[in-house]
C-alpha cells in the first residue's frame, strides 16, 4: 500500500513499512547517514540522518523511522542542520585531526560531513583519543583513535561475514571497538577479509602497507622485481582514477606497472588456469575413488582461515590446491626462474590483489618451501592506485602493452575467477573434459552467475549427475555448510568466496564504489569470456607447455610439491 507524504513541501510517494530514508532515496532526496548500511536493518544509533517532522516539530532519524501518512518532513531546516552539525562537532571533539597523515585523506566520510556542514572552528574540545594502534595482523591495521563508533564494521563482520570478531567494548566515553579481551587482531578470529575496511567511514581501518620494502626492492639492482595481478584488478582499477566501473584496462595496467619499474608483468589468471587443472583433476579423482566429498574450493584465503577456525572437521573437504596467487608465485620462482636463468633468491615477487586476506596468505608458513616464499609482497587494488599516482603516471596517456611470456597467456576461464561462480564454471569446463575427453557444448552455467549469495546447479556428465553450489559472503557459507553437515544438502563440489560477489567486491577494492559498480565489474569479466576464443584452462597453450616440459601431469610429483598445500585447525578466540 502506498500513500503520500510531504518532503520539503513537495508530495512524494511512500510505501507502507518503508523508512523515510527509503522513500526519499527513491526520489533522489539526500540526507547524510553514518551508521546506516544499505540492505541491512537500521541501527539508528548515530542520528546523523535526522529530519524534522513539521507535524509535531520533532526530529526523527530518517533511516529508522517508518513513514506515516500525513508526515511533513523537512530535511534541511535550521534545527536539522544545527543538530547534524553538533553531532559532527562532537565526533571531532576527540578525533586526532591528522588528516594530512591519514590513509583516507580525501576519501573520508568524516571530512565530507564537516565540509558539507561548513564546520570551521573547534567548538567542542574533548580529550583526544589515545588508544593503542593495532598493527599485529598481517593484513589490517586498526587505529581506534580515528574510530567514530558508527558500528558499521561490527555489523558487516557479524552479519555479512559471519565472523563477529569485533564488537563494542565498554560504554559511554570509554567505548571502543575491538576483539574480545582487548586482544589484538592476530590472535582474534579475524579472517582478514577487509570488508570492515570497505564500510569504515574513516581511517580507523586500513590495509597493512608494504610500500617502503617494495620501493627499496624496485631500486635494488640485484633484484628482479616481478608482478602478477589478479583477474579482477583490470576491471576495477579504473575506478581508482575516477573512470566508470567495469572498464577492462589490463594492457594499460601492464604498461603502468613497467613504468613503475616492475621488470616482468604476469596475469594471475594464468595461475587460475593452473588451479583449475589441479582442482578439476582432484575433483575427478575424489569422485572416482569415493574420497571425501563435497570438495570445497580453497582459493580464497579468507574462507580458508574461516574453515580452519569454525569448521576444522571439514578441512579434509578443502581442495589441497594452493590459490592462483600462490601457484603463480611458485611457478615464477621455479620454472620461470629456470627458464630465464635467474636465482629464485634474487626474485622479488609482488602480487596485486583485490583482497587483504591475500597478504595473510602470502605469509602462511605453508607457502614457503626451502626458505623461498612463493610471493613476497601483496598490494591491494587501492595500493596499486596509490603507487601509480606516486610514480606520476598518467594512465590516460599511456600506450597499451602485453604481459610477459612464458606464463603470459591466460584463458577466459582463468579470468572469470574474479566473480562469484567463476571458479566453479571454469572447473566444470575442464572437469567435463577430463571425464569425457570431450568439450562442453555450452560453457555458460547461467544458474551460477550473478550476485546471489547462494547459487546451485545440477550438471550431467555422461551418466553422472554432479551437484554443485556456489556461496559468497561467509555468513552464507556458514548457512550452507550447516545444511551440508546436518544432511539437508548434498553436493559434490562447493565454491566459497568470502566477499559478497567474490573478488570483484573484495576487501582491497576501491572504497566508495558507485551504485552498480560491482555488477559492472562482473559483467566486464563475463564479456571477456564471451569475446575470447580460449575459454578453457586445459586449452591454454602455455599451460599445456608448462605441464609437458616441467610439471608432468596434474597431481603428480612436481605439481604436488609446488601447487598443493595443507590446512590446520587454528587456536583463536571464537
Amino acid at each position: 500500500m502506498s500513500f503520500l507524504i510531504k518532503v520539503n513541501n513537495k508530495e512524494i510517494e511512500a510505501r507502507n513499512g518503508e523508512t523515510i530514508l527509503d522513500a526519499m532515496e527513491r526520489q533522489g532526496i539526500q540526507v547524510p547517514t553514518l551508521c546506516h548500511l544499505k540492505d541491512m536493518l537500521p541501527s539508528g544509533s548515530c542520528r546523523m540522518c535526522v529530519v524534522e517532522n513539521a507535524k509535531n516539530n520533532r526530529l526523527v532519524t530518517a533511516c529508522s523511522t517508518p513513514v506515516e501518512e500525513g508526515m511533513e518532513i523537512q530535511t534541511h531546516s535550521s534545527g536539522v542542520i544545527e543538530s547534524r552539525k553538533t553531532i559532527v562537532e562532537l565526533l571531532l571533539s576527540n578525533h586526532p585531526d591528522d588528516c594530512l597523515y591519514c590513509v583516507r585523506n580525501k576519501n573520508c566520510e568524516l571530512q565530507d560531513l564537516s565540509e558539507e556542514l561548513q564546520i570551521r572552528e573547534r567548538r567542542i574540545k574533548g580529550v583526544k583519543n589515545n588508544i593503542h594502534l593495532d598493527r599485529s595482523g598481517t593484513s589490517l591495521v586498526r587505529d581506534p583513535d580515528k574510530c567514530i563508533l558508527c558500528g558499521r564494521c561490527v555489523r558487516v563482520c557479524e552479519e555479512v561475514m559471519g565472523v563477529a570478531c569485533i564488537d563494542f567494548i565498554n560504554r559511554g566515553s570509554q567505548s571502543i571497538i575491538g576483539p574480545p579481551f582487548d586482544r589484538t587482531l592476530n590472535t582474534s578470529s579475524c579472517v582478514n577479509c577487509g570488508q570492515c575496511i570497505m564500510v569504515c567511514p574513516t581511517g580507523a581501518l586500513s590495509e597493512k602497507s608494504h610500500f617502503p620494502e617494495l620501493i627499496s626492492m624496485l631500486n635494488n639492482p640485484e633484484k628482479t622485481v616481478v608482478v602478477q595481478y589478479a583477474p579482477s584488478i583490470s576491471v576495477s582499477l579504473a575506478e581508482e582514477f575516477n573512470m566508470p566501473a567495469g572498464g577492462d584496462i589490463s594492457s594499460i595496467m601492464n604498461a603502468a606497472l613497467r613504468k613503475i619499474g616492475f621488470q616482468y608483468v604476469f596475469d594471475t589468471s594464468f595461475g587460475a588456469d593452473l588451479t583449475i587443472m589441479e582442482e578439476a583433476a582432484e575433483l575427478v579423482n575424489r569422485i572416482e575413488n569415493g574420497d571425501t566429498l563435497p570438495m570445497i574450493t580453497s582459493c580464497c584465503p579468507g574462507w580458508v582461515k574461516f574453515a580452519e577456525q569454525f569448521y576444522p572437521d571439514m578441512l579434509p573437504n578443502l581442495s589441497s590446491c594452493k590459490s592462483p596467487q600462490q601457484m603463480m608465485g611458485a611457478v615464477i620462482k621455479s620454472y620461470w626462474a629456470e627458464q630465464l636463468n635467474k636465482n629464485p633468491e634474487d626474485i622479488y615477487s609482488v602480487a596485486i590483489m583485490p583482497c587483504t586476506a591475500k597478504k595473510f596468505e602470502a605469509q602462511r608458513e605453508e607457502m614457503t618451501s626451502r626458505g623461498i616464499t612463493d610471493v613476497d609482497a601483496v598490494l591491494t587494488t587501492r595500493e596499486l592506485g596509490q603507487l601509480i599516482r606516486m610514480y606520476g603516471i598518467d594512465i590516460n596517456n599511456i600506450s597499451p602493452e602485453a604481459t610477459d611470456s612464458p606464463l603470459g597467456f591466460r584463458s577466459s576461464a582463468g579470468k572469470i575467477f574474479g566473480a562469484s561462480g567463476g571458479v566453479m564454471e571454469a572447473a566444470i569446463r575442464t572437469a567435463y573434459n577430463m571425464i569425457t575427453g570431450e568439450e562442453l557444448l555450452k560453457f555458460k552455467v547461467e544458474e551460477l552467475r550473478g550476485l546471489d549469495g547462494c547459487k546451485e546447479a545440477q550438471l550431467k556428465v555422461d551418466d553422472l549427475t554432479i551437484n554443485v553450489a556456489v556461496v559468497n559472503g561467509l555468513a552464507n557459507a556458514r548457512k550452507l555448510l550447516d545444511k551440508v553437515n546436518n544432511g539437508e544438502k548434498e553436493y559434490h563440489f562447493i565454491e566459497v568466496m568470502a566477499c559478497p560477489g567474490g573478488c570483484i567486491n573484495g576487501g582491497g577494492q576501491h572504497i566508495g564504489a558507485a551504485e552498480g559498480a560491482v555488477e559492472a565489474r562482473m559483467k566486464a569479466l563475463y564479456d571477456i569470456d564471451d569475446k575470447e576464443t580460449v575459454k578453457t584452462s586445459h586449452k591454454n597453450p602455455e599451460v599445456i607447455k608448462l605441464y609437458k616440459g616441467f610439471l608432468g601431469k596434474p597431481l603428480e610429483h612436481t605439481s604436488h610439491e609446488l601447487l598443493h598445500t595443507h590446512y590446520y585447525k587454528r587456536d583463536v578466540i571464537l
Binding site: 570478531c165 574480545p180 579481551f181
Partner: protein, 153 residues
C-alpha cells in the same frame, strides 16, 4: 575452574541468550572474575561469539576480567563519598597500586573496584577491604592502610 563453569551452565538447561547476564553473574560469584576460558565456554553453550559476550560484560561495571587480589579493595563512589572526595581517594589508591579500577595488581596482593553506595554514608569517604570498612579515609591515611596490609605478607 572448568567444573565451576559446567556447574553454572547446568543451572540453565534451556541455554537461552536471555540467561547471559545471570550466567555471567553466577560465574563471577564462583570464580571471582570472568576468564577468557569461561567466556568462550559460555559462548559455545549459548551459541554466541566471545566478542558479543565480552561486549555485553564490559558494558556493565559489575564484571571483572582479572582474578581478585588477596585483598580486594572497594572504593565507594556513592553521593556522600563523592561529595567528600572519593575521587581523590581513588586516584591515590590507583597511584599507590599502579592499577585502575577493575584490575588486579601484578603481585596479586590487591585488586581494586569502584562501587556505588555501600550504605555507610556516615563514614564517608569509605573504602572496604575484604569486607572491612575503613572510615573517613584521606590521601594520607590510604598509604598507611595499604602498607598495613602489605606488611602482613
Amino acid at each position: 575452574m572448568e567444573k565451576n563453569i559446567e556447574a553454572v551452565l547446568n543451572k540453565y538447561p534451556e541455554g537461552s541468550v536471555d540467561n547471559l547476564i545471570p550466567i555471567l553473574q553466577d560465574i563471577q560469584e564462583v570464580d571471582g572474575f570472568l576468564s577468557e576460558e569461561s567466556v568462550v565456554k559460555v559462548g559455545e553453550y549459548l551459541n554466541m561469539p566471545a566478542s558479543k559476550i565480552y561486549g555485553v560484560a564490559t558494558f556493565y561495571n559489575q564484571f571483572r576480567f582479572t582474578p581478585l587480589g588477596k585483598y580486594h579493595i572497594q572504593v565507594c563512589c556513592g553521593t556522600a563519598c563523592h561529595v567528600l572526595g572519593s575521587a581523590t581517594v581513588l586516584e591515590e589508591i590507583e597511584k599507590n597500586l599502579g592499577v585502575k579500577s577493575g584490575q588486579t595488581a601484578k603481585d596479586g596482593i590487591f585488586s581494586l573496584e569502584v562501587v556505588a553506595c555501600i550504605g555507610a554514608c556516615g563514614l564517608a569517604p569509605v573504602i572496604s577491604i575484604n569486607g572491612n570498612f575503613h572510615a573517613k579515609v584521606t590521601s594520607e591515611s590510604i598509604k598507611e592502610i595499604l602498607d598495613n596490609y602489605r606488611n602482613k605478607e
